[in-house]
Each structure stands twice: as structure tokens, then as C-alpha cells.
């Protein structure tokens, strides 16, 4: 039963991904083709230069040859086909992770393959936001339950106000302030990046990463956990108003057990979804955050590719982060269905 649900949801996710990639290819078709044409011009120029230095050909032959090569590449990249077909081929290429070559940006090994450039950054992004999310959720659950226990009292009100204060605060702005304070005024943390230069070897390497990770994670947690605590408080509070909690309390079950055993188990599915969903939103919404800390992840790649106007990398990054986002949504639904068996049976609300 659950497997049927899983398959259905996964297929649904894939279909949505394909549709979105088609939309993107149609939207950005012009831009992509311009860069491909520029790249072709560059390649042909290089080839002609190579031939002309050999000195065997007359200028006329060279001209003809350059034209031939241009036609050859135009055909190779399907630029002579009708627009619709070009869009479709581009979308299919994108879906199969054939993102093409970057114009400027190179990977750590000097490759200009967009896929390699992106794959290099993904684990770093996951490390940063994943660490922050884990700390966030733990803190959020602890504080959220505390808040729900005595709603409307001082602690609950105080933390709720803090939630609203950070509600509209850009995480990258707080990052700037944190850098200003912790890096340049009291010199505790490094200003950015993932490793010192040169990176130390062995075990120190990981400590070094941790040291670089601390400040961005601290910033993310300061911004994030209030909101999580507030959501968890609301969920737990609505559960606490159920009759069985009252009966549990009436039976004399200790409050701790009521909270963590009874209430939290019922509240788990929405808590997990909300936590994961806000993680997804914070990853996709906080992508600029990375560049403030020069954290070499996917978000920083957006920044760099915009600054260098490297369109293939930008598009590849967009497609890939869309894929990740949809993956996240699917996983979210699967976990939800796993935790709350009612969901997968009905299928419809």
C-alpha cells in the first residue's frame, strides 16, 4: 500500500520537474542560444587561427573553411532547427544533466563542464544548511514545547515577539553584521570560505572546516529557530487541547510523559513536515547567504555566475536546484505518509 503511494508521488515529482524544465528552456531559450553561438564563434576562430599559422592555406580557403565549420557546429548544436524543436532538445539535454560548457567559471580541477562545477558545490551547501537545520529543529522542539506548556505566559510571549522580530530579517544582512562583529571587531572567526589557505592536513582539516562553519551556522540558527519554535508551539498547543491529553493528565501521568510521549507523537507528522518545509524554503531563500560568507556552495555559484554573466552555469544551477527542491518536496510527502498512515490511503483531501 505504502509503496504504491511512494511510486505515485515519485512519478508525480518527476513529471513536475520535466514540465518545469520545459518552461525554463522556453523562457530562457534566447539567452542560452546567444551564449552557444558566442561559444561556437570562439571555437571556430581558434580553429582558423590554428590553420592559418600552419601557413598551408590561402586566405580564401580559410574563409570557406571557417564558414563550413560554423555550419557544422550550428548543426551539431541544432541551431538550424525550428524554435520548438530547439526548445525540446534543450529541455531533454537539461533533464539528462547535459548542461553544456561554462563560459568563464571553472571547477576546482579546471574543468568547464557545468555539471561538474555544480556537483562540486552541492555537498557544501547541504553541509551548511543541513547542520543549521538539525540544530534549528532540536532547539525549536525544545523551546516550542516549553512555549506550548505555558501559553501566554512570559516565556511564550517573549519568544513569540522574538519570532516576529526576525520574521522579515534577511539572513544575509545578519550575516554581514555577524562578520563585522565577530571577524573584524573581535577577531574570533575567519571572514569566510570553507578552509584556511593553505588547508591543513589530516584531522586538523575537519576542525578547520568546523571553525569556518561555525559563524554561518550560528547566524542561520539565530534567524531560524524562533520560527520553528513558534510553529512547533502552535502544533503542540492544538494537540494539547485534545481530550486524550486531558484524560492522560487526569490519570496522573507525569507532565513530561504527557508532553513527550503523548503530545509529541501525535504532533510529529506536522512538525516533521513543517521543519523540512522550512528547511527547503530557507535553502532556496537563503542562497545569497552563502556568498556573504564566501561559502563555496550552490548559492555562491548563483552570485558568481551572475557577476560573470555565465549563463550556462546559471541555467544549470537553476535546473539543479529546482530538481533538489522538488526532491525535497517529494521526500517530505513520503515521510508524512509514513508517519501519518491516513494520508496515503485517501489520497484526496
Amino acid at each position: 500500500m505504502y509503496w504504491k503511494y511512494v511510486i505515485k508521488r515519485v512519478i508525480n515529482g518527476i513529471v513536475i520537474y520535466i514540465i518545469l524544465i520545459f518552461i525554463f528552456s522556453a523562457l530562457f531559450n534566447m539567452q542560452m542560444e546567444q551564449t552557444v553561438r558566442a561559444q561556437i564563434d570562439e571555437v571556430v576562430k581558434g580553429e582558423v587561427m590554428a590553420q592559418s599559422t600552419s601557413g598551408k592555406w590561402t586566405p580564401e580557403q580559410l574563409m570557406n573553411w571557417s564558414k563550413e565549420r560554423k555550419v557544422y557546429y550550428t548543426e551539431l548544436y541544432n541551431l538550424n532547427k525550428p524554435v520548438f524543436e530547439r526548445i525540446v532538445t534543450r529541455a531533454v539535454d537539461t533533464i539528462l544533466f547535459r548542461y553544456g560548457k561554462s563560459t568563464i567559471i571553472k571547477s576546482a580541477f579546471g574543468e568547464r563542464d557545468v555539471v561538474k562545477i555544480i556537483f562540486e558545490t552541492v555537498p557544501r551547501t547541504l553541509l551548511l544548511f543541513g547542520t543549521a537545520a538539525i540544530i534549528d529543529v532540536i532547539l525549536g522542539i525544545l523551546i516550542g514545547i516549553k512555549k506550548a506548556q505555558k501559553p501566554g505566559k512570559g516565556f511564550d510571549k517573549g519568544t513569540s515577539i522574538a519570532t516576529m522580530i526576525v520574521f522579515g530579517m534577511p539572513s544575509w544582512w545578519l550575516g554581514m553584521l555577524m562578520i563585522m562583529f565577530f571577524v573584524y571587531i573581535i577577531k574570533v572567526f575567519p571572514s569566510g570560505g570553507m578552509h584556511s589557505t593553505p588547508p591543513p592536513a589530516g584531522f586538523m582539516y575537519h576542525l578547520d572546516t568546523l571553525w569556518h562553519l561555525t559563524l554561518p551556522v550560528l547566524t542561520l540558527v539565530i534567524i531560524g529557530f524562533w520560527g520553528r519554535a513558534f510553529l512547533i508551539r502552535n502544533i503542540v498547543l492544538s494537540v494539547l487541547q485534545d481530550d486524550y491529553i486531558m484524560s492522560a493528565r487526569a490519570r496522573g501521568i507525569p507532565e513530561r510523559k504527557v508532553l513527550f510521549g503523548h503530545a509529541l507523537r501525535t504532533a510529529a507528522p506536522p512538525i516533521v513536515t513543517m521543519a523540512l518545509l522550512s528547511l527547503l524554503v530557507s535553502v532556496s531563500g537563503g542562497i545569497l547567504f552563502e556568498s556573504i560568507f564566501s561559502w563555496p556552495g550552490m548559492g555562491n555559484l548563483y552570485w558568481i555566475s551572475v557577476e560573470q554573466s555565465d549563463i550556462p552555469v546559471l541555467m544549470g544551477d537553476l535546473s539543479f536546484s529546482t530538481g533538489l527542491y522538488i526532491c525535497g518536496l517529494v521526500i517530505l510527502d513520503l515521510i508524512y505518509g509514513f508517519l501519518d498512515p491516513r494520508i496515503k490511503v485517501g489520497g484526496k483531501a
Partner: protein
């Protein structure tokens, strides 16, 4: 809905809302922003901020990276304030066809940290020779510069001591400073203004002590032809503190900039939130009401839009299409409306089954009429909360786009000020008054709407109310 009913429901709603203190605080902050917005022309020290924010010449007379003026309250050493000396004593002497105009400024210096520059501004026509002399309270006189002025009608000649008198200031320094200290600095790297306002003694270059008192700055201008004229001679003293929020590295007054950002933030936030929530409500209701395969189809479309990571798409679209602020708002609306669809649809499914809808349908009302006249008015109040909570997000999105340098360059938004601060090295150089105010404004505006939104949420969803 009749007007009387509407008034009744509004006053009822207000009575509820009044009880939530945080909501009132949010409303108060919002009202404060509105007041600032209305009185912007009165409050802004620079009236052309909106149109000439990126025009460097407009800001030329301001000091660079000056602290906010209130820093003096907290600092033991007082920073020189910026001022403009407008009424010099004028004396005229004639030597045949030549005229010697002498403009004498008196500057009363009572601070601890010297101003950053002295700028003489002259308007006039024709050519002239000018000597600038600087007399200190201790009787020392420094010849700052002698220059040839070529003036054109309508133009302003600027003589900056900081740029033009380094050599003279260095020579003046040579009479007092020790040779060891002199050797530490090059002629071109000294700050003339800091030397001119320091006590003439050893170490005046390294650790200057302020020489307080009355300074005289004399500009002697020699006009050779009778038709040449001089008018509006001014001495600008760009200080170390300026305005309520200081200046940035491009000499722009940050208070004017932050003030100019309010209207754009409000516009972006309100417009995006209202339009996208309305679209979401209408979409959700129509989907719920129509039901069947139309509902399924609309839900699929919704799912596709819901699976779009918003900021990446916004970034790429802005990078590719370079939109103006209106197009950016439009793009945000296109991708932003999905947030409220789910709840609205489930509410619509409930309302659809009510008897009064059935009755209306029996009376022969069209679907359009039922949806827009009977269902949506019932749901709208519930969407106010999500509208308020959408606003901060929209403002932050615009700021993020601007931080990337993709914002609309014809306007001034807080995100763009932050972009300039970030790329201008404010974080590294610790120019906190450039970074904190715009971001704080974003945060405060977000906070006010969060207060309002959560208060509305509390009223509309009584289950979460504290017992």
C-alpha cells in the same frame, strides 16, 4: 454587502484586534512608516535623492564615510561637524584694470577630530588667479594653494584642500615634526586637514592634538579683465559626522537614502502581497467550486507552480531579463500566489456545501456570481493574515535581488544601499552606519507586518488562542 453591515463588521473586528497588543504595536510601526512616507519631502535633507542617488556630483560637498551626527554624544572625542560658511567678508582693491577681491572666512573650530577637507566653491565667469591662505589661532599662516581659475557661466569651481594642498601641508609640517616621524609618511599620503587643525608640535602627524579656536581662511582672487565676475564664494567644511545616519563611501547622505527606500519597500510589499493573495484566493475558490476534472487540472497546475524554488527563479529571470521594478513585482506575483491556495481551497470546499449556496444556485445565479459575490467575500477576511505575512517575504526578495546587483537602477531601495555597502567594503572597514540602518529598516518593516499578521491569525483562528 451593505455599507452599514460593513461598518458594523469593521468595528466588531477592531474591537477584537484591539485586544492583541502586539498587533497594535505592528499597526503603530506601520503608521509611523506611513508618516515618514508622507513627510519625506520635508524630512529628507537632500531633495533630489530620488532622482540623483547615483549622480556623484550631487553629493560632492559631503564628507566621505562620515559618522552619524549622534556619535558625538557617545564619544569622548568630538568629531568635527559638517558646515558651510556662506558669508565671507569681502574687500575689493583696484590696480588699474586689475581687481583684487579678498574673501575672508572665519571658522570657529571647537572639536577634537579635524574635518576631512576644506572645499572652496566659486562661481563666476572668466579667468582669475587665486591664492588661498590659512591663518591659525596660534598665529601660524599656511599658504594652501595658488591656482588659476577658469570659470564658465553656471559652472562651479571647486578647490579642495585635501586634494590640492598636500605638498603645502607637508612643508608646514616640516617646521615642527621630527625627522623620524616625517620619514614614516610620504608627501602624497598625508591628510592636510588633520595637520592644519593640529597643535604645532612634535608628533602632530602621528597623534595630533586639536588646536581649538578661530581660524581664518582667506581667498585672494585677482581678476584681470573688467568683464570678469565672481559670485557665491562658499567654504564647505566636510566634517567627520554628517546627518542622522552619516554618509557612505560615495559621500551620499544615508538618511535621505533610507527615507527614499520606504515607499519602494511598502509598494513592493503591499502590491505583491495583495495581488498574489487575491489571485491565490480566487484560484483556490474557483478550483474548489468547480470540482471534478477541472479541480484536478487546476490542482496539477498549482502543484507545478508550488514546486518552483522562488528565489533562484527570480534571480535567473532578473539576470536574463533585467526587469524594472514593476516587472519585478509582476514576476514575483506570478510565482508567489501559491501560498494561500491550499487553505482557501479547503475552505471553499466547505462553503460550497452550505445551504445558502444551494439556494442561490436554485435561484439561477451564475457560477461567476456565486463565486465572486457569495464565497470570496466570506474568505477574504481570512486572507488578510496571509497578506500581512507575505509582505516581509516580498521585501526581502527584492532586497536579495538588489544585493546581487540586479535591482532596478532608477530607484533607491534598501537592498541597493546594502549592495553598495557590501561591494563598497563597508563590512571590512567597519562602516556600520552604512550596513545597519537599511537592513534594520527591512527587519522593522517585516516585523511590523509580522505583528499585524500574527495578530490577525490569532483572531481568525481562535483554536490557537491561549486558554
Amino acid at each position: 454587502m451593505k455599507l452599514k453591515d460593513l461598518r458594523g463588521s469593521i468595528s466588531e473586528f477592531w474591537n477584537e484586534f484591539r485586544k492583541v497588543k502586539s498587533g497594535l504595536v505592528g499597526l503603530g510601526i506601520f503608521a509611523f512608516f506611513l508618516l515618514l512616507l508622507i513627510f519625506e519631502p520635508v524630512l529628507a535633507p537632500f531633495s533630489e535623492t530620488n532622482t540623483r542617488w547615483r549622480d556623484i556630483s550631487y553629493w560632492d560637498d559631503n564628507p566621505q564615510s562620515a559618522y552619524p551626527i549622534w556619535v558625538n554624544f557617545f564619544s569622548a572625542k568630538k568629531y568635527a561637524k559638517s558646515s558651510v560658511l556662506k558669508d565671507p567678508q569681502v574687500s575689493e582693491e583696484a590696480f588699474g584694470t586689475n581687481r583684487m577681491m579678498t574673501y575672508t572666512f572665519e571658522y570657529d573650530y571647537q572639536y577634537d577630530i579635524a574635518p576631512s577637507d576644506l572645499i572652496l566653491k566659486i562661481q563666476g565667469t572668466g579667468a582669475a588667479m587665486m591664492d588661498l591662505t590659512f591663518t591659525r589661532p596660534d598665529g601660524e599662516t599656511v599658504y594652501l594653494t595658488s591656482s588659476n581659475l577658469k570659470m564658465v557661466e553656471g559652472g562651479v569651481s571647486r578647490i579642495s584642500v585635501d586634494k590640492g594642498s598636500k605638498s603645502e601641508a607637508y612643508d608646514f609640517l616640516g617646521g615642527f615634526e621630527s625627522r623620524d616621524n616625517m620619514r614614516k609618511f610620504q608627501r602624497s599620503s598625508i591628510k592636510p586637514a588633520a595637520i592644519l587643525f593640529a597643535k604645532a608640535q612634535e608628533n602632530m602627524l602621528i597623534d595630533p592634538e586639536p588646536l581649538k579656536g578661530k581660524y581664518t581662511i582667506q581667498a585672494a582672487i585677482l581678476l584681470q579683465r573688467p568683464e570678469d565676475t565672481i559670485s557665491n564664494v562658499e567654504l564647505v567644511v566636510p566634517g567627520r559626522v554628517f546627518g542622522l545616519l552619516g554618509t557612505d563611501a560615495f559621500k551620499r547622505d544615508l538618511f535621505s537614502g533610507v527615507l527614499a527606500g520606504i515607499k519602494w519597500a511598502l509598494l513592493i510589499g503591499l502590491l505583491t502581497a495583495i495581488v498574489s493573495v487575491m489571485v491565490g484566493v480566487i484560484y483556490g475558490v474557483i478550483s474548489a467550486y468547480l470540482g471534478g476534472w477541472k479541480d484536478s487540472a487546476m490542482q496539477r497546475v498549482f502543484e507545478v507552480f508550488n514546486s518552483i524554488p522562488l528565489l533562484p527563479v527570480l534571480i535567473v529571470m532578473s539576470a536574463v531579463f533585467k526587469p524594472s521594478i514593476w516587472n519585478l513585482i509582476l514576476i514575483m506575483c506570478i510565482f508567489y500566489w501559491t501560498g494561500s491556495v491550499k487553505t482557501v481551497r479547503s475552505m471553499g470546499l466547505q462553503i460550497k456545501e452550505e445551504t445558502f449556496i444551494e439556494a442561490t444556485r436554485a435561484l439561477g445565479a451564475s457560477n461567476f456570481r456565486i463565486i465572486f459575490k457569495h464565497i470570496i467575500p466570506l474568505i477574504i477576511p481570512y486572507s488578510f493574515a496571509s497578506m500581512a505575512l507575505f509582505i516581509p517575504g516580498a521585501i526581502v526578495y527584492e532586497a536579495s535581488i538588489s544585493l546581487l546587483g540586479l535591482g532596478d537602477a532608477t530607484i533607491v531601495t534598501w537592498g541597493q544601499i546594502l549592495r553598495d555597502a557590501y561591494t563598497g567594503g563597508a563590512v571590512i572597514n567597519g562602516i556600520w552606519w552604512w550596513v545597519i540602518p537599511p537592513g534594520l529598516m527591512i527587519a522593522i518593516m517585516g516585523m511590523s507586518f509580522a505583528f499585524i499578521g500574527f495578530a490577525l491569525d490569532k483572531i481568525l483562528h481562535p483554536k490557537l488562542r491561549t486558554r
